[in-house]
Every structure is written in C-alpha cells, then in structure tokens.
C-alpha cells in the first residue's frame, strides 16, 4: 500500500510537469498579442509596448518563456499575471469559493443519485423508474450554458427564491442555486450508473443467499448491494471532478462568483499565459490527488482489491 502510494506520487510529478508544459504551449500558440488584448481596442503606445514586452519576456520563444516560468515556479514564485497581479494571491482568493461550490454540488449530486438510483433499481420498470429516466434524459440534453442563465432568471429574478448572484463571501444559501445548477452536470450519469449497478447486483448469488437466510430486505439493499455497487460510482466521482471544474467556468460567470472558473475564463480571454498555467497546474494537482483517493477507496469497498 505504502509503495503503491509512493509510486503514484512519483507518477504525479511527471504528469504535473507534462501537463503544465502542454498548457503553456497551448497558451503560447493561442497568444497573438497579450498587450493589445489587455488594452482592448485602444492603441498601445510604442513606449508602453516595449516596456511590457521586456517585463514579461514576450519577445522570447516558447522554450524561453517556459524556462523563465519554471525557474520562478521552482523557487515557489508563481509569477505575475499580465495585468500585474500576483498569481499566488489570485489563487488564494479564488480557490475557497470554488472548492465550496464544487463540494456542495458533489454532495447534492451524489446524495440524489444514490437515493434515486437505488429506489428506481428496486422498482425497476415502475412509474418512478420511468420518470427518473425521462428526467435524466432532460438533464443530459440541457447544456449548462442554457441551464445556468435560465435557472438564474426563473428562481433568482422572477420568483425571487434565491439571490440572483453570489459573491466571494457568499452564504450557503446564496451558493445553493449555483450548486444545484452545477450538480445537474453530473447527477444524471451518476444516477444511471448507480441504478444499473444495483440492478445487476440484485441478481447476484449473495443476494439470494442473504434472502434465503432471512436477512431484512432493507439491510440487503442498503448494506450489501449498495456497497458492492459503489465501485463504478466512486470511479465516476473522480472523473466528475473534471466535469464540475469545467461547469464551474460557466456557473461562476453567470452567478458572478469570483472563483477559479471565472478567473480561468478571464485568463484565456486576455491571453494571460502565466495566469492560466498557474490555475491549471493547481487543477491538475487536485485532479490527480482526487483520483488517488478514489483508487484507495476501492480497497475500502472491496477487500479483494490489493495494492502492490
């Protein structure tokens, strides 16, 4: 187990450097003129252009710029965004709210998916099952770019049930609507994976045995079947983290939440290489760690799984 974790951590370092380089190269390829992008359509004076080019090494090639970035990074300095803001301070201020939002979305989605998934698996073919099927189809068909503004309009502006926007120090209540919207991006797949998996396990031999020895049906389903059905579900949660992060890009923009998603979108718009790479690097780390945790959870669910 210990050796397994060490090996995974070593792999992570490689993945991390690879990912930052790829992102850096992509940002570089997308970079036309960050100085102009910052100024909008206002003309940039020669004097200003020269000074900024020198400050951010914009006249260097890809490898030159990456070298400057990496040498700074290894000394713990994430650098400055092109608008002159300290990237580590930016990260510090935008992570908490995004973590809060994604976590709420994840809990909401997982809770609903498990409850409804198990229920519709038990009553397979019933009204509830079919209703849930139609509902998940609807959610899958609605992209978040449509769902988020519509939800804001209906529940925030027209009905006034929720605040129309949130902010950095938003309350649980203000973040609830964005979290629900965000949860819709992952809940449908989670629900259907749970249902399928439970349906399959209900037919397993051990369930028949348990029934035969007179175990209470509730205990069979919620303890034995569910635990065995959770492996695909847990795997999915690891993957869903990525979906949530990309969904946060839209949700945060619509609900005015100054988190990672909205900063990332802004960085891409202004061709701000250092800022995008800084944010993505941290995202990569979160993603890797989450997936390691998911892999370790397998063992908790199924003692047959061993790590070497």
């Amino acid at each position: 187990m210990f050796r397994y974790i060490v090996r995974r951590l070593l792999q992570m370092i490689l993945t991390f450097f690879g990912a930052t380089f790829v992102v850096f190269a992509l940002m570089f390829a997308n970079q036309d003129d960050p100085i102009q992008a910052l100024a909008g359509e206002k003309p940039v004076s020669d004097s200003l252009r020269e000074a900024l080019t020198e400050r951010y090494h914009l006249d260097e090639g890809l490898l030159g710029q990456y070298w400057y970035y990496m040498t700074n990074l290894l000394t713990g300095d994430l650098g400055e965004s092109i608008s002159g803001r300290d990237i580590s301070a930016l990260l510090e201020s935008s992570w908490p709210v995004t973590v809060q939002l994604s976590f709420m979305a994840l809990v909401l989605a997982a809770g609903l998916a498990l409850a409804a998934g198990v229920w519709s698996a038990i009553r397979r073919g019933g009204i509830f099952d079919n209703g849930v099927l139609a509902f998940t189809l609807l959610l899958l068909a609605l992209p978040i770019v449509v769902l988020a503004p519509v939800a804001q309009w209906i529940f925030g502006m027209e009905l006034g049930w929720f605040p129309a926007t949130a902010s950095r120090n938003a309350s649980f209540y203000a973040l609830l609507l964005p979290a629900i919207v965000l949860a819709t991006t992952v809940v449908a797949t989670q629900l259907r994976v749970t249902r399928t998996s439970v349906v399959e396990n209900l037919r397993a031999d051990y369930v028949r045995t348990a029934r035969a020895k007179g175990l209470a049906p509730r205990r069979i389903i919620w303890v034995h079947v569910l635990r065995n059905s959770l492996i695909p579900f847990i795997t999915l949660i690891g993957v869903d983290l990525g979906v949530l992060m990309s969904g946060a890009l839209v949700t945060e923009e619509v609900f005015n939440i100054p988190g990672v998603g909205s900063k990332l979108a802004q960085g891409i718009r202004t061709e701000d290489g250092p800022m995008v790479v800084g944010f993505v690097s941290v995202l990569v780390i979160v993603f890797l760690v989450m997936n390691l945790v998911v892999d370790l959870l397998y063992a908790a669910l199924d003692p047959r799984i061993r790590y070497e």
Partner: protein, 544 residues
C-alpha cells in the same frame, strides 16, 4: 474497514461537511446596502494607480477617490475644480497651474504642487510601463524618459532613460507649478481633466520614483470619498465620505463599487434591487430592460464613435467616390433602431457630438441613405464586385455587420460578406502585413473632449488608431494649426476645416455614436452619466 455502520457515518460526515462548507463565512447580509450609500456595478479595474488606469471601471472608482484639476461644464468647456486658476502664456506653451489652498489627501497630507509633479513624472517614466503614460507626451522632456528601441524588433535593447524627471514640470511655490509643452497647444486645459493627471501623496512613494508596495490596494486620494478597507479584488471596493473634503460635497455618504465578471449577472442584481446602478446594460438585456426597469432605464450621450475604415493599400477602394457610394448604401438609422434597439444613434460626422465644434451633418450627402444614387455612383466609378467587411468575433459585431452587408448588397447589388477574425489583434496584424482583409470595423472612445482627440488619432498620418493608413498633408497641417492656434475657438475653426477634408475624401464611413445605456434601482434617484461614461457622484441620492 469502515466500521459497523458505514453509511450512517458517511451520512453524518456529509452533513457535517455541508454545514462547514456553508457556514465557512456567513457574510450573507450586505452591510453596505444600508444607510445613505449606493451600490454601483463595475468590472474588475485593471489598475487603480491613476497613471496606469485607462479602463472605464477604474475611471469610475478614481472619480470617487480623487478631485480633478479641471472638469467640464454643460457646454463642454473646461472649468477649474481643484485648481484655482490655470493660465497659459501668449503662445500657449507655458501653462501655469495654481491650486486651491486647504485641500488635503485622505491621510491628512496637504495637496501641493510637488504631488502633481511626482505623480506625472512617475506616469511618464518608461520603465514603469504605465498605461496612461502617453498622456504626458505633450510635456517637454517626455522623450528623455521614453527612449525608443533603435531597431524595433531587432536584437538591440532600448537604452535606459537618462532621467526620471520631465524638464517641462517646474514647481514655483507650494501651490503653483508650471508645465512647459514641447509644442504650443491652446486646449491643454481640457487634456488635464483626465484621471491620469491626478496627484499622488508623499505616502504613495517608498522612495523617489518608486510606488510603495500595496499602495494600489489602499489608494489615498484628494477626492470626496476615501477608501474603507482595501481593494477586495474581484469582489468590491468600498469608499466612504472624507470629512475634511473642501470641494463640492456629494449627497451620498459612500459608494460600494461592486465588481462583476459578467454584466448579465449585474443586470440580474439590478432587476432584483441588489444593485443600485448599472452603467452599461448588456445588449442581451436591452429588449427586456424597458419592461423590467420602466422609467429607471435611461440613455445619455457618450463619446463612442463607430465606423468602417478602408485600408489604403487596397486599390479597389482608392477612388473616393466608391467610398462615398458604399457609405450611401447603408441605412444607419435602421441598424441603430433594429439591431441596437436605440442604444446607438446614426453618425453623420467624423467626430462625436460630445465635443465642442461638432457639426450635425458635416459628412453631407455621403452619409445619407440613398440606394439609387449610391448604385449609380458605384457603377460609374467601377467599384469592386465583392465587398468584404472584417470584424473581430469577440466583440459582438456579427449582427450589425451582417445587417450592413445586407443593406450594401441590396443597394449596390454586389456581393458583400462579413469576414470574421478571432481577435482585434489578429486584424491589426493582417493590416500591418497588408493582407486583403477588405473593409474593417473600428471604434473610438475619446480621452478628452476635443475634436483634436478624434482627428489626430483616427485620421492623422501618425495617428495611433489610424490602422487603415490614410494620410493627407493638408489635413495634418490643419489639425496642427488648430492645436497651435491662439485660442480654443480659433482651434475649432481650423479643426472644422480639417473635418471638411474628411468629408471630401471619406477615408472612413461614420456609422454610429454610442450612448450610455444605464439603469438604476428603486433605492436611488438623480442618476446621471457624463460623456466619459462615469456616474455623476455629486448628484446621485438615495430615496426612502
């Protein structure tokens, strides 16, 4: 491994973490939305140091923290505000600025002439890379602070500036200083109204010419409001009344500048009364705004000027009559009302109506929609069979370019297509490499309300925004003569003569003037916006 009752534990853990996530920071009630203060929506300012702040959001915030030397009256004439008297020498080269006594910065420091000189020198010094640095160009000695790279993109580096003080700035006494310009300029007084000319207190500098770390987040100004706490990036900037302020006192006690990443989110807050003023209602909300806001939805003029340029390296548009024919083929009014829902107005001059010297229809017949005349003129002069209008897709220009093309197609019976470029910078690149990108869509926002601020940058041979390369010696001479004329009135005469050359030559097609399209909540009244798209903080008041 998980214990006897794993799911109970998991449920409890989930509940706890949800609570923790929710209660992490219980700042739900906005304390600023109380009392006699207003909440105004902005975007995240790029910078707040006055000499580096050139975007409209920072201009709004600075307007609350600083008191300008000069502002403009109803006739757009400059009048002294923080300055007692601004006078020029006979040839308009030496300007003497005398400050009103008794003013202090928010930290108690008296405002002196040196504060202006220090701030301006900092702004002009090239290594500081200040976005508003070019405003100091007219002051003698600017060139010494801004030596340019001798070989452009070549291997040689630009030399270090020999000095960080402009020779044109001289302190006479504590409240008086003089500004020597490198060339006479009769309207210099209008220029210094801009936010880059604000003073900075001694506390702003950690040593000579170096801004103290963190000053930008806790700005100290000389205006009616002072900062409460520091700049909370991407969230808000709160300002409150400065009790020792000696100028015109606003009716409100404070402003919360609420920062939005997306203007649609701001609109949602405006409609649900969480935001008091939105200074630019987004296009997507324009259709609903009159119904949502009723009489609280307003428009006022601003300095935006939108037009189409003809790159001069394209031979097919060399003939001025072809250019005029295309202009006549466009129904400006229809696009302004149908596409922009009245948020723009049709332009028939080469400068914006917000500057003095503007004439209603200086463009003449060439800007009036007349499809038959346009077609005849176009045919006679052998206009090209295909017209292309290039625009950047990130600016929401598709609908009006398509509409313009439809009008051109119908009027001239030639092919017309809208060509997309991903960004403005890509368009600039292609222009520089003289690629055939056809007509280009452009826009301009003035820095100071003078005709010159449209004529020079847009049509002057060395104009910073003259991307199409139009050049006329007669025009350049007239603009220069205007700038160096003996009085602002005499300047306007020359500039109008220069504009007449534009009407003859038609280097661009004027299309539309912008407007401030803004709205406010039920909590406030007397909301006005000026030509610089700033909320008038001295008039706005709260109701109830």
């Amino acid at each position: 491994m998980l214990g006897k009752r794993p799911w109970k534990m998991a449920a409890v853990a989930a509940a706890i973490s949800l609570l923790v996530a929710g209660c992490g920071s219980g700042d739900s009630e906005d304390p600023t939305a109380t009392a006699n203060t207003v909440v105004i929506g902005i975007n995240e300012p790029q910078h707040l140091l006055p000499t580096n702040a050139t975007d409209s959001s920072s201009a709004q915030v600075l307007n609350s923290l600083f008191y300008p030397l000069v502002s403009f009256d109803a006739e757009k004439k400059p009048v002294e505000v923080a300055a007692e008297k601004i006078s020029a020498s006979k040839n308009n080269r030496l300007w003497t600025i005398k400050l009103k006594p008794g003013y202090t910065f928010h930290n108690g420091e008296p405002v002196t002439a040196q504060n202006y000189i220090d701030a301006w020198n900092y702004g002009a010094y090239k290594p500081n890379a200040q976005g508003g640095g070019y405003f100091f160009e007219r002051i003698a000695g600017y060139a010494d602070l801004n030596p340019l790279d001798p070989d452009g993109a070549g291997p040689e580096k630009a030399p270090e500036p020999a000095t960080n003080k402009m020779s044109g700035l001289k302190k006479i006494d504590d409240l008086t200083f003089t500004v020597t310009l490198s060339a006479p300029f009769a309207s210099f007084k209008s220029v210094i109204a801009y936010s880059v000319f604000y003073p900075l207190p001694k506390a702003a500098f950690s040593s000579d010419g170096v801004i103290a770390k963190g000053f930008e987040d806790k700005l100290i100004g000389n205006g009616p409001f002072k900062m409460k706490g520091s700049w909370e990036h991407d969230d808000k900037i709160v300002v409150e009344k400065y009790s020792d302020f000696k100028g015109v006192v606003p009716k409100i006690d404070g402003v919360t500048w609420k920062i939005y990443g997306d203007q649609m989110a701001a609109y949602a807050d405006l409609v649900s009364n969480n935001l008091d003023v939105q200074t630019a209602i987004p296009t997507d909300a324009l259709a609903n705004a009159p119904a949502d806001l009723g009489e609280r939805f307003l428009k006022s003029e601003n300095s935006v000027f939108e037009f189409i340029g003809f790159p001069t390296f394209l031979p097919q548009y060399k003939n001025a009559n072809v250019r005029k024919a295309i202009s006549m083929a466009i129904n400006r009014e229809e696009i302004a009302s149908q596409i922009f829902l009245g948020s723009r107005t049709a332009a028939k001059a080469f400068v914006s109506p917000v500057v003095s010297g503007f004439r209603e229809n200086s463009c003449g017949d060439a800007c009036n929609y007349n499809p038959t005349k346009a077609r005849d003129l176009y045919r006679e002069n052998g206009g090209p069979d295909e017209i292309k209008i290039t625009y950047n897709v990130d600016g929401g220009h598709k609908s009006w370019v398509d509409a313009t093309c439809n009008q051109i197609r119908a009027s001239l019976q030639v092919k017309c297509i809208g060509e997309q470029e991903p960004k403005f910078a890509v368009m600039q690149d292609k222009l520089q490499n003289k690629q055939d990108i056809g007509l280009i869509r452009l826009g301009w926002i003035m820095d100071y309300p003078l005709m010159e601020n449209y004529l020079n940058p847009l049509y002057g041979t060395n104009g910073g925004s003259n991307y199409y390369g139009w050049s006329s010696t007669a025009f350049d001479t007239l603009v220069k003569q205007g700038s160096e004329a003996s009085s602002p009135e005499a300047s306007i005469k020359k500039w109008q003569a220069a504009e007449d050359i534009l009407a003859d030559e038609m280097p661009v097609i004027p299309l539309r003037y912008g407007q401030n399209v803004f709205g406010y909540s039920e909590r406030v009244a007397n909301v006005e916006m000026d030509l610089f798209s700033k909320v008038n903080l001295y008039e706005i008041e709260t109701v109830v």
